[in-house]
């Protein structure tokens, strides 16, 4: 029992503030999609709209053939896992899990059996008589997961479910969530502000900002080929440099920027390069060299920081403040003049004006 989710032109307001702006998103059957962004970007609002706790000012929500837009929350049949678990404090673990089945009018014996089977799947059988207050954080999250899964919903939603757990448990739990979601082939929406979490667990990730989706792609694509400056910065392309292509020799493009910036870029590795563009690099994609190379970005080095595998340098350049990296073998000093040379693996090309 699974269904695709389709959000079309959703707009939402809190009072007069627009918190979601014409958002459209399609989640395929059995797919896990993360909504990723800083707090206030609209990701939780989107989840609450789908769950039915908020009503959109415009747009529609469809789950399979069903129009959810105006359906009351309790009839939407969505499994929800909350950040703070939201277990019923006065009910035992078993009754917590059986709660949804009870609402569906299932007989007492049958629902106990189903709930027990679900508890066995999350490894909590010995704890079925406990109250939520007597469980650890990880155990509570498993109960919350079992409670959402036992109703066999066509859609599962997670609202920052791991942020209250410690680092080790967080990694274990996300694997567990992914496995259960895969095994049931349930469509899932996962809300988080943690980039690693979103990228590791999802089929596709929607990066959100100011009530809009800035890019919706597979994690690999987002990480290597961001579509705009916002996403580029979000995934660690800290240096953005506006350039113009001057000469093309086969796949190699010679580009220039202000103040004597001159770089050679390989289209075979970076994709097609237009005449005007923005080069985005991670600190590791901008190599510091003291050699008098013809190409590169002239820079005056500032603070040096040690990162174990390399040094990072704060650098003042004609393209503004950049962060570059250099090898451990030849540390340079603050105040040294150097050139910064982009390395194709940690670079990407953005359209003109994205800076």
């Amino acid at each position: 029992m699974t269904a695709p989710l389709s959000l079309a032109n959703l707009t939402a307001h809190y009072g007069t503030t627009k918190v979601l702006d014409d958002l459209s998103l399609d989640v395929g059957e059995g797919e896990l999609v993360s909504l990723l962004g800083a707090s206030g970007c609209g990701k939780t609002t989107t989840l609450r709209l789908i769950a039915g706790f908020l009503v959109p000012t415009a747009g529609t929500i469809h789950l399979g053939e069903t129009d959810l837009t105006r359906l009351p929350a309790h009839r939407r049949n969505i499994g929800l896992v909350f950040q703070n678990y939201a277990l019923f404090p006065h009910l035992s673990v078993l009754d917590n899990v059986a709660f949804g089945l009870k609402q569906r009018g299932m007989a007492s014996a049958a629902r106990a059996e189903r709930a027990r089977a679900m508890l066995a799947r999350v490894g909590l059988t010995p704890l079925e008589e406990r109250l939520p207050g007597e469980l650890s954080g990880g155990q509570r999250q498993r109960v919350a997961l079992a409670r959402a899964l036992v109703i066999e919903p066509p859609l599962l939603m997670f609202d920052e479910p791991l942020s209250n757990l410690d680092a080790k448990l967080r990694v274990d739990m996300r694997v567990e969530i992914r496995q259960l979601q895969r095994a049931n082939n349930t469509t899932a929406v996962f809300v988080t502000h943690d980039q690693e979490e979103a990228f590791s667990i999802s089929d596709r990730v929607a990066i959100m900002d100011a009530g809009r989706i800035r890019q919706f792609d597979a994690p690999e694509t987002l990480y290597q080929r961001p579509a705009n400056a916002f996403v580029a910065r979000f995934v660690g392309f800290e240096n953005l440099i506006a350039l113009e292509a001057r000469r093309r020799e086969g796949a190699i493009v010679h580009a220039e920027g202000p103040g004597g910036i001159s770089v050679a870029l390989d289209q075979d590795r970076l994709g097609a390069i237009p005449d005007r563009f923005t080069l985005a690099t991670r600190p590791d994609g901008l190599r510091v060299t003291a050699q008098p190379e013809a190409e590169g970005i002239p820079a005056s080095l500032g603070l040096r920081t040690y990162l174990g595998r390399a040094y990072h340098y704060q650098a003042e350049t004609p393209a503004g403040h950049l962060v570059a990296s250099g090898p451990l073998s030849r540390p340079l000093q603050s105040g040294d003049q150097a050139r910064l040379v982009p390395e194709a693996e940690q670079c990407c090309i953005l359209p003109e004006g994205e800076i």
Binding site: A51, G52, A73, H74, L80, F82, A86, Q103, R104
Partner: protein
Amino acid sequence: MTGRLSPVLIGFAVLVYAFLMGPLIIVIGAALSDTTFLTFPPQGLSLRWFERIFEIGAFRRTMVTSFQVATLATICALIVGIPAAYALNRYRVQLPGWLSTLFVLPVLVPEIVLGFSLLRSIQVGAGFPVFSTLLIGHTLLVLPYCVRVISASLASFDFSIEEAAISLGSPKWKTFFTIVLPNVRSGVIAAFILAFITSINDVSVALFLTGPGISTLPIQILAHVEQFFDPVIASVSVLLMVLTVAVMAVVERTLGLTFLTK
């Protein structure tokens, strides 16, 4: 910590307890006295002043009235107060701040003034019968306590629990009874007890609102003391205490148990 309690501390604690318990002991003692005047320590033990209560019709009637008014006013205040406290907490962000202050205002108004204004407005003005006026007055008197106490226990309630229940298929109204209420049970019990005691002990509001044929027990005690000085006052006080404790016990038991088995 292995330190011994200091004798000064023990002495102080004994004094505090003596101060708190003293009047109770004196009243109970006086109620058991065999004499025809109030005295302590009791001279001779007897229950005749307890029998005497029931021989005086006014005590019988006012005791019934007091319990009826206290029970009904408390229930009315809870019926209004629980949803009010719920709304004030659930929609705290959306609601203006003065709204919750509104529910505390009656506490600030001297009870004498409340009694007088109710007398003017609903008894004389709107021509309500005495019992109804008394009930309305006491409901208003105890409502702030209900809202405050239940709000306090709702303040620590996580409303995402309510959303979890709704997402699992429980309609909102049903969720209120199966999820919200059981989790503020202790607040409701505390509010009930506080409201009941406030109502049954009230003199100032009742002073204005009692009328021909209908009075409450504290008013009757006051009237009796003005004329007589016999131990029946002590015994009726003891009876009032015992009955109040009994009501509390019943409330604790029933509310406590029914919510636990749900």
